[in-house]
């Protein structure tokens, strides 16, 4: 039986068939027919944001915390261009996002019509795939394909641009199972020969380390489970990128903490001194490697990644394994067990002894302050007071983000939503709304800096409208903290435009939005203030006034290697040479 319906109706039907429950969006002229259909049904919930950028970050938060694709609906022209930042963000962090954008009618395309933009042209380099649908008959199949591409292989954003006349016209609906999707089928099973080679190396390795990334999270909870089993069985130490936090629990005995530019001393030294590096779903990002020609000089490197182009892109790999992390781990574990579960216990014990020495440096220690709240302390107290709760954390971008990664412990995957690759300030607040929509009863906290938070603060309106009780925990140092830190280290303490002047009164702002505002400016009151935030049944803006000139350590200065970390203020004089200063 073929079903005839309008393009607008097809959009809703296709979303239903894809199991979509929530759409984040903002209406406008070119999507009115679709919004008319949204109005006439109750299966799909539409969340009206305050700015399209908020819609896509909310969808990202939704996607990262559920593992399901996030869906965005926006109008043509400015509606579409406003989601571009979020599309790039989702591309960099491999987040499945389906953007549906309205377009001027087909007969007006190219005429510089009102609110016309070349949306597929603009988003071509930043989507996994995009489509301009010119016939209603092809609309449903295209949307099904879009979901398939967004969620298959390495996940990412896709966009379907739908002209208004295509929404109005009637056509034949293509049922989900009939949509042609087999032309895009990335390989998920790893090469058994390569997996065996990895297992062989693991059996004899003396100083191994697991280096895990967002690929473990993206592969689903099963992959995290397998990772944990393997880590426990082998006794190998494990570190993770920013994106991979929670795949292995922070309370686990083999946990070294995050690695990279602001990673722990033990994690970075383990990476530098190891003889076998097992990269699982990470991509040798420049925040991780530091200086490439000094990166882990004496190790054999294995790399498990579903994206073949990630292999050998930056770092030469001895054992490349293309495949889905979950599938590869399952096979690897099977092979390792069948060969007798061998590891070099004696050497591993020696390796751990060395690691314990690095741990003893206690790199995350910070000096207490008598006069102000140390930002690290604020996060540490937040961690202590929310331990064991059903907790989801989002962040903005900057120092607070790194402190959150350092001082919060993540026990499970999908609990940590942060903009890693693109580093999008303004991500955290809308993302927290998206997470809360997906998990209405959970505790959702956005750890923010005041400057980032202001970039999308209009989304407090969305939080209020949908009664999303998100907690905005703002570390307010009245500075663009990370910019200020780099200017201190690299630019002769000339603080060009890196302070926040004319800040709003955040408590009054909370009042204006109709939510709760809390201000705290001394450590003695901090615990009570955090408890007050947690106890409040609704959104909270928490203005935590912290030390203004705190720097984020440890830090690997640009252009340096893992074994050249700075641990504190005393070591910062002249550490970055001219060649390092030009790096990002």
């Amino acid at each position: 039986m073929t079903r005839q319906m309008t393009g607008a109706k097809m959009v809703i039907q296709a979303l239903k068939d894809q199991g979509v429950e929530v759409v984040f969006g903002y209406p406008g002229g070119a999507v009115l027919p679709i919004y008319d259909e949204v109005f006439q049904q109750n299966d799909i919930r539409h969340i009206l944001v305050r700015h399209e950028q908020g819609a896509i970050h909310a969808a990202e938060g939704y996607a990262r915390s559920t593992g399901k694709p996030g869906v965005v609906l926006v109008t043509s022209g400015p509606g579409a261009t406003n989601v571009v930042t979020g599309i790039v963000d989702a591309l960099m962090d491999s987040i499945p996002i389906v953007v549906l954008s309205g377009q001027v009618p087909t007969f007006m395309i190219g005429s510089d019509a009102f609110q016309e933009g070349d949306t597929v042209g603009i988003t071509r380099p930043c989507t996994k795939m995009n489509w301009l649908v010119k016939e209603t008959d092809k609309l449903a199949e295209t949307i099904h394909q879009a979901f398939h591409v967004a969620t298959s292989g390495r996940p990412g954003p896709v966009l379907v641009d739908i002209p208004k006349d295509v929404q109005f016209a009637t056509g034949t609906y293509c049922e989900k199972p009939k949509a042609k999707t087999d032309h895009y089928a990335p390989r998920v099973k790893g090469d058994p020969e390569m997996i065996t080679k990895l297992v062989e190396l693991m059996e004899t390795a003396e100083r191994p380390v697991f280096y895990t990334g967002g690929g473990v999270i993206n592969s689903g909870p099963g992959a995290s489970h397998l990772l944990r089993e393997w880590v426990e069985a082998t006794g190998f130490p494990v570190t993770s990128t920013l994106m991979g936090l929670g795949a292995y629990p922070a309370s686990g005995k083999s946990w070294l903490g995050m690695l990279g530019m602001h990673g722990t001393y033990q994690a970075n030294w383990a990476m530098h001194d190891c003889d076998l590096m097992i990269n699982i779903g990470a991509r040798f990002d420049d925040r991780i490697t530091g200086r490439i020609n000094a990166f882990s000089p004496d190790s054999k490197k294995a790399h498990i990644d579903i994206d073949p182009s990630s292999i050998n892109k930056v770092i030469h790999t001895d054992v490349p394994i293309v495949g889905d992390v979950g599938h590869v781990l399952e096979d690897a574990l099977k092979i390792w067990k069948s060969r007798g579960r061998k590891v070099n216990r004696e050497a591993i014990a020696r390796w751990w002894k060395q690691i314990e020495e690095w741990k003893a440096v206690n790199c995350l220690a910070y000096k207490p302050s008598a006069t102000s709240i140390r930002p690290q302390h604020a996060i540490a107290r937040l961690e202590a007071l929310t331990k064991g709760m059903d907790r989801y954390i989002t962040t903005e971008v900057g120092q607070h983000q790194m402190w959150a990664a350092q001082y919060l412990g993540f026990e499970d995957p999908n609990r940590w939503m942060t903009s890693g690759g693109l580093g999008t300030m303004g991500y955290g607040l809308p993302a927290s709304v998206g997470v809360q929509i997906a998990h209405p009863d959970a505790l959702v906290i956005n750890v923010a800096g005041e400057a980032s938070w202001l970039m999308n603060m209009q989304e407090m309106g969305t939080a209020m409208q949908y009664r999303a009780p998100v907690k905005q925990f703002i570390l307010n140092n009245e500075r663009l903290g990370m910019v200020r830190q780099w200017q201190e280290l690299l630019h002769g303490e000339r603080y060009s435009s890196s302070w926040s002047e004319s800040l709003p009164d955040f408590v009054k702002l909370a009042d204006a939005f109709g939510c709760k505002g809390i201000r705290c400016d001394n450590e003695a009151d901090l615990d009570d203030a955090i408890r007050e935030m947690l106890a409040y049944d609704g959104p909270v803006i928490f203005d935590c006034l912290v030390e203004k000139h705190e720097n984020c350590f440890p830090m690997i200065p640009s252009g340096n290697a893992h074994n050249q970390m700075l641990l504190g203020e005393a070591e910062t004089q002249g550490v970055i040479g001219a060649s390092g200063a030009v790096l990002v």
Binding site: P125, K128, H183, D307, S309, N312, V582, L583, V584
Partner: protein
């Protein structure tokens, strides 16, 4: 020069450009890329090259299978072996790309390019141009009393060589199609 000793206009200060550019040999490879024949596909492929800073030495594209809805892009590119491998991996993961063949490493291949040359001249030069065209098996496809248009098919090297010879004889314009290539044998 700035305080950081970066030459004006230099692009050598990206985090990805720390390696010595002369450390590895630059190779030239011919890639045959089978893609869906749909609007935007060429923009997608060449956008990848410009976004990631890869070279395009030559590019041809045309539909080769109307029913199968396929086009073939032949692209000649150059880079270090690592960059060439990366280009192939980046192409292969695109949704519109079905197959990527590196004709340079997959065995012997035939490479041909079509070119048109407009040569203006009188007297000895004009006779010499005609004589050389015969040697190169170029056809005269247009003629006036003071000009020829030659048509020639051959490898890019042969086209280059012919253009060099024509230059002192009054070459005024060249149009080249770029390389079309197929693997030898079946």
């Amino acid at each position: 020069m700035s305080a950081l000793q970066i030459k004006k206009g230099s692009s050598k200060h990206s985090a990805y450009d720390l390696r010595d550019p002369n450390a590895e040999l630059i190779e030239t490879h011919t890639l045959a890329v089978s893609v869906d024949n749909e609007s935007g596909v060429l923009a997608r492929v060449i956008g990848l090259f410009s976004a990631r800073g890869y070279n395009i030495d030559s590019l041809t594209v045309a539909e080769v299978d109307h029913l199968g809805h396929r086009s073939r892009i032949t692209v000649v590119t150059s880079g270090t072996p690592q960059v060439i491998t990366q280009i192939k991996a980046q192409l292969e993961r695109m949704v519109v790309v079905h197959e990527v063949h590196d004709l340079t490493v997959e065995g012997p291949s035939v490479q041909r390019e079509l070119a048109l040359f407009k040569v203006k001249g009188r007297g000895e030069a004009r006779i010499e141009a005609l004589r050389l065209a015969e040697i190169f098996r170029a056809n005269v496809v247009d003629s006036t009393l003071e000009s020829f248009v030659f048509e020639m098919t051959g490898t890019p090297e042969k086209v280059d060589a012919f253009a060099e010879l024509m230059r002192p004889l009054g070459l005024v314009e060249v149009a080249r199609t770029g390389v079309a290539a197929l693997a030898r044998g079946a």
